[in-house]
């Protein structure tokens, strides 16, 4: 660090000193908050990512101290390094806000907007982006691009119509696994994520493509349609895993583990371990350990208050302990004369159906009803 000179950069009138070679996006993330531009394709833990989605465009109003001319066009902040004395405008520039709204419109041109069906809803970056930076309506009148459905293995569900071609999953396959078996076929408007010659992905870390996918294009098949993310309780947990760090977030309903994901930081990226390496998790942790007894639970995961995931979750120890029964204490030791067990009436969350242990989405055959 001592050899690297520190560059002074001003982003939205906030000055920060960062080492040379830092990108504008990472400098803005150091400041944090609204100043950090949104990023759909850049992923700090994946080398070579970024520069594709254009959502992180910023205006450089002063190039550097030596050359104070502004840059002629908006630049992608994930691919532009800071210069000494650089002045950047992000949310203070109307040009940037205007362009970002257009970029959202472009990204949504072929997006099916099937959020009510999509499992990513609630933690989808495209949903957040269009909500915060987009416009309400669409001007697109043509048929949206569709693809033939393709199975890419037993654990991962690919919805090509939702893909925004950020290439993050391709980088994951390239950098985390020994052998890449999927990539992007065709060009331009026709390009699509596919496994080459229908090969299924069987690498041990390929499940991480689910975590890096900013939209619902790659989702967990073992969690598919089981529940909405905002009804589940995120819990930090770990286990002794021989292949990965074993530090994960469990998404529970009561004692049932519905989903296992890596722990994500405030930018939606996988957290770093103590040694600085990203905490990617292996497939067996993600897809096969669906029992609470497999895990050591550390405590509830802190989710941003702005997120829908924290809706209906109460502060305190909920999720890690069951509340004590207060009836007899209040009524001087008397037990209730009539007690309705909700499971005796309700057909939801029946005790004899373990949805979380199914390896596929639930079907009509998995449910039974006494009323029919």
């Amino acid at each position: 660090m001592s050899e690297q000179p520190l560059f002074k950069v001003t982003i939205d009138n906030i000055t920060i000193e960062v080492p040379a070679g830092t990108t504008v996006l990472n400098a803005a993330r150091k400041i944090g908050g609204d100043v950090a531009p949104p990023a759909m394709c850049y992923y700090s833990k994946l080398q070579g990512s970024g520069g594709k989605c254009r959502t992180c465009l910023v205006e450089v109003s002063k190039g550097s101290d030596k050359d104070p001319r502004p840059m002629p066009k908006l630049v992608a902040s994930c691919r532009t390094n800071v210069m000494d004395g650089m002045e950047v405008k992000n949310i203070t520039s109307t040009k940037v806000i205007d362009t970002r709204a257009s970029i959202v419109e472009f990204l949504l041109i072929n997006h099916p907007l099937d959020c009510p069906v999509c499992d990513q809803a609630g933690e989808c970056h495209l949903q957040d982006l269009s909500y915060e930076h987009g416009k309400e309506g669409t001007r697109y009148e043509f048929q949206r691009r569709t693809f033939k459905k393709q199975a890419i293995g037993p654990y991962i569900q690919l919805h090509m119509t939702r893909c925004i071609l950020c290439y993050r999953c391709v980088f994951v396959a390239d950098q985390l696994t020994n052998k890449r078996e999927h990539g992007i076929l065709d060009r331009g408007d026709h390009s699509e994520i596919a496994t080459f010659i229908e090969k299924s992905l069987e690498n041990d870390f390929i499940g991480n493509v689910i975590d890096v996918c900013p939209v619902g294009a790659l989702t967990d098949k073992t969690f598919r349609f089981k529940n909405r993310v905002w009804f589940l309780k995120p819990l930090d947990a770990h286990r002794d895993c021989p292949t990965c760090s074993g530090k994960v977030t469990l998404w529970n309903r009561g004692d049932e583990v519905f989903r296992v994901t890596a722990r994500k930081d405030e930018w939606g990226e996988v957290e770093s371990l103590a040694d600085g390496k990203p905490a990617w998790i292996c497939n067996s942790c993600r897809f096969e350990k669906k029992k609470t007894s497999d895990w050591v639970i550390e405590g509830p995961r802190i989710i941003s208050r702005q997120s829908v995931i924290s809706q209906g979750h109460y502060a305190g120890k909920i999720g890690t302990h069951t509340p004590a029964e207060t009836f007899s204490a209040v009524h001087g030791g008397r037990q209730p004369k009539l007690l309705m067990d909700i499971h005796a009436v309700s057909e939801v969350n029946q005790t004899d159906i373990e949805l979380s242990l199914l390896e596929r989405p639930a079907h009509s055959t998995d449910f039974h009803s006494e009323k029919d």
Partner: protein, 183 residues
């Protein structure tokens, strides 16, 4: 002390006069008021033979809607449940199997859908949250029941009958033919 409003009246503590002590004139006055009501318009209706018209914005019992082809509209997106301030709605989703396309509109549907009518406050936020026009508050009441068990409404009670196969049930659930102030 100065009164806040000028409507305050002093309580009269004067002793009653002879006429007032007799009570009979006051009784006759009261009887006269009672008999005069026989000739006035009745403010009550004899429910259930007669029914009062509902206002068009009345929020009654929920129905789960079907589309034009009779398929269930609900995709179990959970927005009604997250919008519900009383946490009355629960559901479980399932994937549509091949061959079930005539039953469910989208590839995901609510296999189980329940509203706890003991909790529901009929605020209508579920109706507003629904992106698929699947849940509506109809112009009917939740019927009374002797046990609390009867207030857990499942899909068998909520789902509107198919207009093609059961037009009578459909009309009843929609409240068609019932008087409203909209007419």
């Amino acid at each position: 002390m100065q009164a806040l409003t000028n409507r305050a009246k002093e309580v009269s503590r004067k002793p009653m006069t002879l006429l007032e002590k007799l009570y009979l004139p006051a009784i006759a006055k009261g009887m006269l008021i009672t008999f005069s009501h026989i000739f006035k318009k009745q403010p009550t209706v004899s429910y259930p033979e007669q029914k009062r018209p509902f206002s068009p914005v009345f929020r009654g019992l929920h129905v789960l809607n079907r589309d034009e082809e009779g398929r269930e509209r609900c995709t179990a997106c959970g927005l009604c449940a997250v919008a519900c301030p009383a946490e009355a709605i629960t559901m479980e989703a399932a994937e549509r199997l091949p061959g079930e396309e005539n039953l469910y509109r989208e590839e995901k549907y609510a296999a189980k859908y329940e509203i706890n009518m003991l909790r529901c406050i009929f605020c209508g936020l579920c109706e507003e949250a629904c992106p698929k026009d699947a849940i509506y508050l109809s112009e009917t009441f939740a019927p009374a029941n002797f046990t609390r068990k009867g207030f857990i409404y499942g899909k068998d009670a909520l789902l509107i009958p198919d207009a093609k196969t059961d037009p009578e049930g459909y009309a009843k659930a929609r409240g068609i033919g019932e008087p409203t102030t909209a007419d």
